[in-house]
Amino acid sequence: MAVPKKKKSKSKRDMRRAHDHLKMPNVSYCPQCHEPILPHRVCPECGYYKGRAIISTEES
């Protein structure tokens, strides 16, 4: 069976992992309450989407 001949150096290992970072989600801001939201979704904070209340989020 084919097997690596040499141990990869720390440098080579870390170079491989250079692209393993997590990506930031595409955040936009709610026009109603200015909280960060995912685009094209109901705002989980105020329950508004496209200028109308979709879900009630009254917890006070």
Partner: protein, 182 residues
């Protein structure tokens, strides 16, 4: 190949899928708005709109076709009586899907499926408004044109008026002259 095979299996066999969508479309017309996953919502929309089209047709055969699919007679009745009226002057697009976010338990994307409410004639209102503005614009133009025309007529009248004023005097003069002659 899945050419021309619309729709998704959703991890169910066909009878399971059919049963699920029958229940879902019935619930949608019962509660106006339901929550489900994005994939199911998208397929539910086409079924729901088909039902509304049947309701808009409204004859006995259409009613039986709807009853054959939906699971609740009362809901079907409501669809054919109340909801039908609501969608009568709308050409499709009776159902709205709003994405809500991901579900806590399995991170599934959830959306809200809702029937367009009766008040939301926004597009139509816009069109109507446009039509109205156009109508307003046109009368204005016409009115302005009419005003211009009036002005013209008044001008003409003014021009004619002296002539008219002059012309009645002439007969008088003629009469007076005639009298003098006599």
């Amino acid at each position: 190949m899945r050419h021309r095979k619309a729709g998704k299996h959703l991890g169910r066999d066909s009878s399971h899928r059919r049963a699920m969508f029958r229940n879902m479309v019935t619930s949608l017309f019962k509660y106006e708005q339901i929550e489900t996953t994005d994939a199911k919502a998208k397929q539910l929309r086409s079924i729901a709109e088909r039902m509304i089209t049947l309701a808009k047709r409204g004859d006995l055969h259409a009613r039986r076709q709807a009853l054959a699919y939906m699971t609740d007679k009362k809901v079907t009745h409501r669809l054919f009586e109340e909801l039908r009226e609501r969608f009568m002057d709308r050409q499709g697009g009776y159902v709205r899907i709003i994405k809500k976010g991901n579900r806590q338990g399995d991170n599934a994307p959830i959306s809200i499926v809702q029937l367009i409410s009766a008040e939301e004639g926004k597009k139509k209102r816009k069109k109507k408004a446009k039509a109205e503005t156009k109508a307003q614009m046109k009368p204005k133009e016409e009115a302005s044109a009419a005003e211009e025309a009036k002005e013209e007529t008044t001008a003409q009248a003014a021009a004619e008026a002296p002539a008219q004023e002059a012309s009645p005097e002439e007969p008088d003069r003629a009469e007076s002259e005639a009298k003098e002659e006599v």
